[in-house]
Symmetry: C2
Subunit: 354 residues, 2 copies
Amino acid sequence: MTALSRVNAHWTTSDYHVSRRGIPAVSVKWDGEGSEVNATSADVARHAGVSRATVSQVLNGYADRFAPETAAKVYASAEELGYEPSAAGRTLRRGSSDFVVALLPHTTFGGHLQDLFEQMSVALADHGYTLVLRIAGAATATLDRLVAGMKPAAVWSFAPFTDDERAVLDRRGVLAIDPPSVTQVDHNRAIGQLQARTLIEHGYRRLAFAHLQDERHDPFGFAREDGVREVARQHGLDEIDVTNVALDLDSAVRALDGLSAPGVAVAAYNDDVAMALLSAARLRELEVPRDLAVIGMDRTDLSRIAVPRLTTIEYDIVAASEAGTASLLQALGAGAPQPAAAPAVLHLIEGETI
Amino acid sequence: MTALSRVNAHWTTSDYHVSRRGIPAVSVKWDGEGSEVNATSADVARHAGVSRATVSQVLNGYADRFAPETAAKVYASAEELGYEPSAAGRTLRRGSSDFVVALLPHTTFGGHLQDLFEQMSVALADHGYTLVLRIAGAATATLDRLVAGMKPAAVWSFAPFTDDERAVLDRRGVLAIDPPSVTQVDHNRAIGQLQARTLIEHGYRRLAFAHLQDERHDPFGFAREDGVREVARQHGLDEIDVTNVALDLDSAVRALDGLSAPGVAVAAYNDDVAMALLSAARLRELEVPRDLAVIGMDRTDLSRIAVPRLTTIEYDIVAASEAGTASLLQALGAGAPQPAAAPAVLHLIEGETI
DNA sequence: TTGAAAGCGCTAACAG
DNA sequence: CTGTTAGCGCTTTCAA
């Protein structure tokens, strides 16, 4: 995994390489040479000796209305010509396209997000949908253009829609799918709860939560904090401390100084925050975990490399995404059977920091 | 920045929230109540008291062919009705859409990539294009479907296209833009050179390069290694050592043991690799930078938090992306003036590890 | 069991 | 200066 790894090439304008193959003036000959480009359904029909209507029907799942050999001819013809239906034509006729737009959250954009989208891409492709991605934070005006222009079958978001996004999607009448904030909160709460329970099991009685202090909007931190607090109360502990950590050493040291360490056990928003606190502890010559205990969240590669290794929680994004995909397909009316039960997605990763 | 931060919510199928606003049967009344959804150019024309052709012309940059007040009526009408042209209709007519597909490299997917795409989104939107993202590396069959169906104005890639991708794009006759591998190599070479020069300026005479050993394809490492080697030779140093580091402690320790430290100065593929080596050095009780010098690449947040702070190189992705966007627009025929000179994109970040 | 015809929204050529 | 017309590729009645 290379969650940390950044993009790392650069170029100048003149360095780019542009190519476009000559587009043949007429689309299809008699299968003359090599595979053809951009065959239309009319081409397929002619090649198969049937009408365009027949091609359309057969290729859209109504093959059983036709004689088997007719259907076979159509399939063969489409295959030979490398036919892919034009999204434009179909969209125009049907009123909405087969594209599904997924909004990429700007907040969390780790290395594993692509695994999620890859899983979704494949699952959706099986049902004839094509997944495209959009940066969520980008101006909602361009979202409006995208939705109005592309007429996607659905817009899906990993994080709850902002009010602006919601307004645009409603106005354009597009199927909009996001996790309702309530549940999102509950699940993030579960993360906080797991962190707190783990700390308490290890004997800690003074808990704290360290937020990531970031310029970007953080939709998750407060729910996690609540999860920690809740468990602390259930165990009759003192009210938890709450602090903010930006990803620089000064900020981490300041946060640590405010924490009335030694002896406190911190649930960190994520592994970055946890690592920052560990560095701060080292500067202050606190011993981990004796003087300061820390549990992270995410199981980044670097958290495993740290000395001592960070105790953290792993989130199985692929397992989680399968559930998300299922709900998306269900909303689209593509009868995906529901998975029997939600799979476990949270795993405690042992380290030496608690 | 939260390059490290992973996605961190989870959900089950039943948790998702689905909504679709009722779509009005008829698109436009006499501007009766609130803004209308999905007005067509015919609606705009009727509302403005002109023909559809006039609307089309005015809205596509030929307003000067008409009387000023006619154009004004059209603009006002479109505005009032919230008109966004249908991509499907336009695509059908024109043969290609206004979408530009950007392929997301699977290899490097750091937190800053979204800044790049945001910059591109805005720049393209100014010229009437809409950027959508695709995970590269996902089955090329779905790329084929996407290209054949969406008929994008261009497909742009940050990393050179694979042969499969190139074949699909050629076959569909779509404008394909990627950095040619030669230049890509040269620029990565510049990164290696800068690392080596920096180490040498600090007095080191025995250099090494540490690759990231990763399951994913690494298109950049070898060029960087070459850059380091080249500078080492120019300065008459011994041949450089080369090693591989996976992102776990065992691997890093093994690599370090093979390096004939103490005394060696390592140019790391990226900050992750550098951090792994620093952890290994700590385990082996080597003192940094006396026994082991390390320079990274990327300037991750955690590299700044490390004690001692990592000396590294920052890559200004937004400056770099501007050049990329310019070349894209140029290829699209949207006459973007070339930036005068390529901006500096590589910056040395001082730390205490060399 | 299959085909003919209409029309989705748009733009380009041409006519007035 | 502006409008009429045709047709991009597809799917969906409806008729044969």
